[in-house]
Amino acid sequence: MFAYILRSLLQGAVVLIAVAFIAFSMFRFVGDPVANMVGQEASMADREELTKHLGLDQPFPIQFLRFLGKAAQGDFGISYRQGRPVAAVMAERLPATVELAVLSAIFATVVGVALGVYAAIRRHGLVANAVMTLSLVGVSLPTFLIGIGLIYVFAVELRWLPSFGRGETVRLGGWTTGLLTKSGLQSLILPVLTLGFFQLTLIMRLVRSEMLEVMRSDFIRFARARGIPNRVIEFRHALRNTMIPVVTIAGLQLGSVIAFAIVTETVFQWPGLGALFVNAVQFADVPVMAAYLVFVAFVFVVVNLATDLAYLALDPRLRAAPTAAR
C-alpha cells in the first residue's frame, strides 16, 4: 500500500517535470522575450543587459534547471504584459476559478451519480429514458453554446440572473469569495451549470452503464438468492462496485473542469485563470502561459493522486496486497 502511494507520487513528479520542460520550451519558440519586453528604441546595450539580467545568455540546460528551481518555489518570472510577478497575477485570479470549478464538480458529481443510479434502476421507466435522451444533448452540445443559451434565457429574456462577471466579492485574507454575497451567488449559478453540465451527463451515462453491468454480475444474483432486499442490493452491493471504474473517469473529468474552465470563463467574462490564459495567448505573454501550463499539470497530478487514494478506500483488494500488483 505504501509502495502504491509512493509510485503514484513518483509518477506525478515525472509528469510535472515533463510539462515544465514543454512550458519552458515555449520561451524559446514563441518569439524573443527580450524583443517583447524592451521598446523599439532600445539600444543593443540595453538588450544585452536585459538578456544577461534574465539569464538568457546561459546554456539551455542551466536555464531549464533554474526555471525548475524557481517554479518549485512558485516563481514564474514577470508577466510581460502586466509587468508584475506571474505568481501574484495568478493568485489574484485563482479564487474565481477554484470556486467556479469546485462548485461545478460537486454539482456534476452529485447530480450525475444520482441520475445515473436512477436511470440504471428504472431502466425501462419513462423518466429514466427521458433523462437519458436529454443527456445526449449534454454530451454533444459544445459548452459555449450551452453557456450562451443559458445567458439568453435566464439573463436576457427572464432577467433573473446576471450574464457576466462575479458580482460582489468579499475579501477573506488573500482570498476573494463570491459565496458570501447575494449577487456573488447569483453570478455563480449560470457559469456553474454551464461548466458542470457536460461532466454531469458524462458521469451519469457512465454510472448507468457501469451499474447495469454490475447488476448482471454473479454476486448480485447471489445476493438476490439470499433474499437481500432490492434497495440494499442496489445501494450497498451494486453502487460501491459501480464507483470503482466511475472514480477513474470522473476524477480525470473533474481535473479537467478545474484546468479547462477557459471556455466558460470566456463566455461569462469570469475573472479567473482561464480568462487570464486567453489574454496571455493574445499578447504572447509567455511566462503566464508557462505558469498556467504547469498549474494545469499540477491540478491533474493532484486529482490523479486523489483518485488512487479513492481506490484504496473503495477496494480492499488493493489495500490488502502490500506489493500492489497493479
Binding site: 454473479d218 439470499r226 432486499p229 440494499v232 473503495l314 480492499p316 490488502a320
Partner: protein
C-alpha cells in the same frame, strides 16, 4: 409417505425472444422429500439450472414461468408477489452457485455479508448475528472463524469461498438448498470435500438438496434420487443406483454409457451421436427421437409422458405397456451411427 419439501408440478418456463417463444422447461414434475438429495443431470442447455432458478423465483426477463405449480412444503410459491418471494429466498430456500470466486461481493468482509443475510431473515442483534456467523463458518469447516470472519473474499481460496457461500445459504436454516453446479469450478480434491460437506449438512439438518450438475460421478456419490433432463423435460427419474446401473431411457443409457471408467479398455470415448436440439428447434414428439437408436414413427409424432416403471419414471414409449408394438422396438433395429460401443 411424508410431505415433500419441494413439489414441482408440470412446470413450464419460457423465454420470449425476437424469434419467438422458446420453451426452456416444458412440463417438468418432481418431488424432494425432507433430507433427500435429488440430483439433476443433463447436458448444457437441458434446463437444469433454469429449473433451479424457477423454483427460487429468480428467472429474469425475458424469461417467465409460463405454467405449472411450485409447492414448498404446503405453500404454493410460484404465484407469490416479488416481495413475498424475496422473504422466502435465503430463509426457506438457500441457493449455491457455480463459481464461488464471483458469488461473493469483493468489497465487503465475509462477516458483513453473513451478518447482513442473518439480519435480513431474523431479529437477531448485530452482536448475536455475528456470533451466529462464526458458528456457521465453524460448521462449514473454516479454520479460525473468529479471525477469518473479518477477511475479504479475495483472502480465501476457491474451496474456502465455496464454504463461505454454503454458510451464506445456511444462514436461516432453509428447508431446501438448491446447489447449481457447486463443484464445477473447483479442483477435484476440493470437490469431494464440498460434496461431503453438503451431504453432512443435509443429513444433520434434514435439509432437502436439489443438486444440479453435469457430473455423473458427483451424482452417483451424493444423490438419493436422480432426474435426467433432456431438452427441458425429465427423461427419467428414479433412485440413483437404479438409474446409474440400469437406465431405461435411451438417452439415460447413452449418458451412463458415456461415463469413462478405468476398467474399460476403450480406445475411443463413447458418445451419443448428434447433439441436443436448440430450444428453437425441438422436434415434435419425443425431443430425443432424432438421436435415438430405437425411435419409430410414434416417437416422431406423439410426445411421451412419464410412465412409472418399477422405481423409475421414464418418458419413453418403449415402456408403454399399452402399446403392443413397443416391445419389438427394444431390439436395436439400426445401431447408432458412431462406433465404439464397448462390449
Amino acid at each position: 409417505m411424508t410431505q415433500p419439501v419441494l413439489s414441482v408440478r408440470d412446470l413450464r418456463v419460457e423465454f420470449v425472444t425476437r424469434r419467438g417463444v422458446l420453451k426452456a422447461i416444458d412440463g417438468v414434475s418432481f418431488d424432494i422429500a425432507p433430507g433427500e438429495v435429488l440430483g439433476v443431470v443433463g447436458e448444457s442447455g437441458a434446463g437444469k439450472s433454469v429449473t433451479g432458478s424457477a423454483v427460487i423465483g429468480l428467472i429474469d426477463p425475458p424469461g417467465r414461468i409460463a405454467g405449472g405449480e411450485v409447492w414448498l412444503s404446503e405453500q404454493r410459491i410460484d404465484n407469490l408477489s416479488p416481495e413475498e418471494m424475496r422473504r422466502i429466498r435465503g430463509k426457506r430456500i438457500g441457493m449455491i452457485f457455480q463459481d464461488p470466486l464471483t458469488s461473493l461481493n469483493p468489497l465487503y468482509r465475509v462477516g458483513e455479508q453473513l451478518v447482513e443475510t442473518i439480519q435480513t431473515h431474523t431479529d437477531l442483534s448485530a452482536a448475536a448475528a455475528r456470533r451466529r456467523a462464526i458458528e456457521l463458518l465453524t460448521e462449514v469447516g473454516i479454520p479460525a472463524p473468529e479471525r477469518r470472519i473479518d477477511g475479504y473474499p479475495h483472502e480465501f481460496s476457491g474451496g474456502m469461498r465455496q464454504r463461505v457461500v454454503i454458510a451464506l445459504a445456511l444462514c436461516a436454516e432453509p428447508e431446501l438448498i438448491i446447489a447449481d453446479e457447486p463443484t464445477t469450478a473447483l479442483d477435484v480434491s476440493v470437490q469431494a470435500q464440498i460434496i461431503s460437506l453438503l451431504q453432512r449438512l443435509g443429513r444433520e439438518h434434514g435439509t432437502a438438496i436439489m443438486l444440479v450438475t453435469h457430473d455423473m460421478g458427483v451424482i452417483a456419490e451424493t444423490a438419493d434420487r436422480v432426474a435426467v433432463m433432456y431438452a427441458g423435460r425429465i427423461a427419467e427419474i428414479g433412485p440413483v443406483q437404479d438409474v446409474v446401473q440400469n437406465p431405461l431411457h435411451p438417452y439415460a443409457r447413452g449418458l451412463m454409457g458415456a461415463i469413462p471408467t478405468l476398467a474399460q479398455d476403450a480406445s475411443r470415448l463413447v458418445q451419443i451421436p448428434g447433439s441436443m436440439p436448440r430450444l428453437s428447434a425441438i422436434p415434435p414428439g419425443c425431443p430425443f427421437n432424432p438421436r435415438c437408436p430405437h425411435a419409430w414413427d410414434r416417437c416422431r409424432i406423439d410426445r411421451p409422458e412419464p410412465i412409472q416403471h418399477g422405481a423409475h419414471k421414464v418418458a419413453c414409449h418403449l415402456y408403454d405397456l399399452n402399446d403392443p408394438t413397443a416391445e419389438a422396438h427394444k431390439v436395436l433395429t439400426h445401431p447408432p451411427a458412431e462406433e465404439g460401443v464397448p462390449a
